[in-house]
Symmetry: C2
Subunit: 299 residues, 2 copies
């Protein structure tokens, strides 16, 4: 581990190397996009801890003067010989200019999310009865994307796929707001991001994974009710290999996706006029899946 | 119904009356605080529709030039003789200066939330088997407050209490961000806001309403597990009169509240290191309550 000071050296001179790191941090944090090398930025003690413990490659850690008070919490990770990345120090003022949050805690990291193959997701991971995948198809709010990832990890989902950005695309799971909302789950839950929905559905079919369309909108439910397809979460057998499809917050899933899926679920509600937030709906469904899988495994 | 034009009259002169309304809208929307008369601001077609249909007193509606395209959707409400409030018109530019959102839809309303007595909440409403109250004690993110209200309404909660702001206070359910996240539920779900938690707990006890502390943190769960108190959501009898206590996103409920509650619940999760977002946790618990109550009522 090297420990250098960026922007706060004794002479007040920033070396070009330090300057390059500060720029990278700014791109990833304030800019909200991955660096040229594919690193994403995480900020705050909890997320940096998650990043250091995730097994993902950490490129650099940045600590401001005020952030020094958190160094002890990070020490177990920073002290390891395999952690061969620079730990840079900077002033609080420079940190504030780089950070994406209003009241930064003064610690940040650049971390490269694991590249996951779809094949990995399609296989049954150790300890799980069958794959339980969450497919985000058009979820546009990064907060919702992150919250769903957090919930998915908590309820034992084995992986997640996000569709390519664009018209019916999903917000990046690695954008700062999504990473924060995921409480770090985006770094340890296996994620394949930016897939074309059509190709994915074909792959799922070929792999014998049951696709379930989550329908939160009255119109979708109406269409499904007439065809007798829609099930309540507790009517689904969650111990089979399942991919849960979650659609856009406003428009839901495209009609053709709902119809081509192997099944559909809706969450019964007290009143027809009510609806659920996308992340709340996903939480309810994934809880039901976990409950059944836990029971099935005899835990 | 009167229809006046604020800030866009033929002569370009804004009357002092129109100017007063624009100021009120700005306080409520951009300022995010209730007006002197207790009105809160709602923005966007869907929320204004909710406000007009909520039975709450509407003080005024504001429509920009660009917002005119939504007038047809609102017409069923605006045309009624009992809707005796001014409908003001303004320019898109003035509207943007008043709005709280980045891409305003050009329609807004000032609406006075219903005053609800705690006694009303403590009584069993028509159609419900028993009161099911949600008590928000320290939920600080307005988005979480709104999402929980939306979920509570969807799953048949009979009312909500929010604790007084301050140290362990809860964000106002009527702040613009909370109103938006609630999708209007904040205007029709009976809410008592700003209560002192101690007084509330005494009242609940006197009324025979079972208090259940929702514990999402490992420490809380650890403390409870040793005392054998914590139940899984499905172990609770949700048909009895219940008040579900939801605490702060980071710190949870104060220890003394957890211990003085009649019972506690935790949501089993796949891994000890995971946790759930406050709104996701509330969704899971309220879903379970609804499922049991629906079954109990023989629906």
């Amino acid at each position: 581990m090297r420990d250098t000071t960026a922007g706060a050296s004794a002479t007040g001179v920033i070396t070009s190397r330090e300057n390059r790191w500060l720029k990278e941090f700014r791109v990833a944090l304030r800019g909200g996009v991955p660096t040229a090398e594919g690193a994403v930025g995480v900020e705050g003690v909890r997320l940096v801890e998650e990043a250091l413990g995730s097994g993902c490659r950490v490129q650099a850690v940045l600590i401001s003067e005020g952030g020094e008070r958190h160094r002890e919490k990070l020490a177990p990770f920073l002290g390891r010989p395999e952690m061969a990345f620079p730990v840079l120090r900077t002033t609080d003022r420079l940190f504030e200019g780089i950070a994406d949050t209003e009241h930064p805690q003064g610690v940040a990291a650049l971390v490269v999310p694991r590249k996951v193959d779809l094949d990995e997701l399609l296989a049954t991971p150790r300890g799980a009865c069958a794959p339980l995948m969450v497919v985000l198809a058009g979820v546009q709010d990064p907060g919702n994307v992150g919250t769903i990832l957090r919930t998915a990890a908590a309820f034992g989902a084995t992986g997640c796929v996000t569709t390519a950005t664009g018209q019916s695309g999903t917000a990046s799971p690695f954008a700062p707001k999504a990473l924060r909302a995921s409480a770090g789950a985006a770094l340890h839950l296996p994620i394949v991001s930016g897939m074309a929905l059509g190709i994915l559905l074909t792959q799922l079919k070929l792999s014998g994974i049951h696709t379930l369309a989550s329908c939160v909108h009255e119109e979708e439910r109406g269409a499904l009710r007439s065809s007798g397809q829609a099930m309540a979460p507790w009517e689904v057998d969650w111990c089979q290999p399942i991919a849960l499809l979650v659609g856009n917050e406003g428009a839901g899933l495209p009609q053709e996706i709902v119809h081509s899926a192997d099944g559909s679920i809706h969450i019964p509600m007290a009143s027809r006029v009510e609806s659920l937030n996308a992340a709340a709906a996903a939480a309810v469904v994934l809880y039901e899946a976990y409950r059944q899988r836990k029971k099935g495994s005899g835990e």
